[in-house]
Amino acid sequence: MNAIETIQLTKFYGRHRGVENLDLEVKEGEIFGFVGPNGAGKSTTIRTIVGLILPTSGSARVFDRDVVREGKEIRRQIGYLPSEVEYYDGMRVRELLEYSQRFYNQQGDGRLLELAEMLDLDLTREISDLSHGNKKKVALVQALLHHPRLIILDEPTDGLDPLIQTRLYHLLRQENEKGATIFFSSHVLSEVERLCRRVAIIRAGTLAAVEEIGALKRKRVSRVCAEFSSPFPPDQLSLPGVVSLQTDDRKAQFLYSGEMAPLLQRLAEMAVDRLTVEEPSLEEVFMHYYEGER
């Protein structure tokens, strides 16, 4: 069964595009990454899935239920961490978490205490006194408290220190091992790389690609750095497959996708002093997608 499925999902805010004709499938039990630059449509997609906004056309389903018609039942099974966390003034952490628990008819505070301890969260503090990072911890506990089948995280590590980030990854892996599906949205690709098995790349409101993380990294995209013994005209490197070209007098850096032979042939004609070809980071792979289609 698909945990999430969007079918030609389109959302416009007046004349402004949120997402357009988005077809996405997330299998139950997956840890699925959702990456794209700011304004690409990540939060619009998520907010449609959790029922905050309504699709302009198309549909979204969670565990085979329509997010508009059966939103209440769906939300019972979702744990959602928003990118920006705001809570009610004058409430203490424990009061808010217990308030949230009651919406799920959940009894007892064993789970609450366990999560709070794991994330080093003080339950007695007033929420308005908390730092951004600590508010994020409250939101994480609140998202995981009711043992959701689907955990949707929008920029979850923003504001968390590295130690807590590591604990969060551990916690999410544990939840996934217990059967929870995790939908992890981020613009920091190294985070996605660390946790996810598959990733969807969204740009300008449309789906650019869905890839296995390994396959994405193995794509024939290389980071090339060449130093030359004499100045060279940059258009000599205008080959198919070359993107993000940066040059100065005797040096060129770029991303390259495609067969290596034509590139090496061209470089051989250019008096190369030093050449490095590296595996690109996921950020660079992503930039390749983004820039290549612009």
Partner: protein
């Protein structure tokens, strides 16, 4: 209706209610304490002699009402129980839904397992409780004041009728506030719009009374449907006034439920 949300909202708005209830109770008590003195010395007649007739009519100062202490009190009731309480009602009505978006807590509330109707239903429940409670407090304080300060009998039946009309007006204004808050974009000054609506409606009725050529325009205002002529013979409930308020409340609540179901919650 969701009990968890209802009780939390009730608690969250308790301080605002207590402040308004205390303020209006104090006004009413002071006014009722002054009524015997004003009625006895006919100071009101002196005021009427000074004020132009149109202004007197506009502000509900009607000498026909001054034949008894209740009639004198009504001159002030128009300001406290109608105008000020309507401002409380519209402001609470506007804030209950819109503050979730304005303070960005909607992302928490609307991602709980709640239907949109449950949210509007629970918030409407809180609104009704506080509007009814404020009206009950005003009525009880006035009755206590009459007992303490006004010698002689008070027409309790007429005061009861007036209090019911006042409650209906406040509920209608509260329902209007709920609906209006859904039409205004996040971040806009919803409170100013609400208070403007109440004052606009009040003065539309007031000035229409003073200008015979546009007198009919006053019927566009809910304030026109409150009968304040407590001293007139046969004063009592009139079915068309009651029906107007019930219809007004039903229409704006229905519009609120309908609109909220279709509303994008923008954070």
């Amino acid at each position: 209706m969701n009990k968890n949300l209802f009780w939390k909202e009730l608690k969250r708005n308790r301080t605002r209610f207590l402040i308004w209830a205390a303020m209006l109770s104090a006004f009413i008590l002071v006014t009722v304490a002054m009524v015997p003195n004003m009625a006895a010395t006919l100071k009101l007649q002196a005021i009427l002699d000074v004020l132009p007739k149109e202004i007197s009519l506009a502000f509900g100062i009607d000498p026909a009402n001054w034949t008894n202490p209740l009639g004198v009190y009504v001159t002030y009731h128009v300001f406290y129980a109608l105008l000020f309480a309507a401002i409380f009602s519209v402001s609470l009505g506007i804030e209950l839904l819109s503050k979730e978006e304005g303070r960005r807590t909607a992302e928490f509330l609307l991602t709980r397992p709640l239907g949109r109707n449950e949210i509007v239903g629970s918030k409407t429940g809180v609104l009704v409780v506080y509007v009814v409670a404020l009206n009950a407090v005003m009525t009880l304080v006035a009755l206590a004041g009459f007992a303490a300060f006004v010698p002689g009998p008070i027409d309790i039946a007429a005061f009861f009728v007036l209090s019911v009309y006042t409650l209906l007006l406040n509920l209608a204004i509260a329902a209007l506030g709920l609906f209006v808050s859904l039409l205004v974009k996040r971040g806009r000054a919803t409170m100013s719009i609400g208070v403007g609506l109440v004052l606009g409606s009040y003065f539309l009725d007031a000035f229409a009374k003073a200008a015979p050529k546009v007198e009919a325009l006053g019927w566009l205002s809910p304030f026109r449907f409150v009968d304040i002529g407590v001293s007139q013979a046969g004063y009592g409930f009139q079915w068309w006034r009651i029906l107007y308020f019930l219809g007004f409340i039903a229409v704006f609540l229905a519009l609120t439920f309908f609109r909220y179901r279709k509303k994008d919650i923008l954070i």
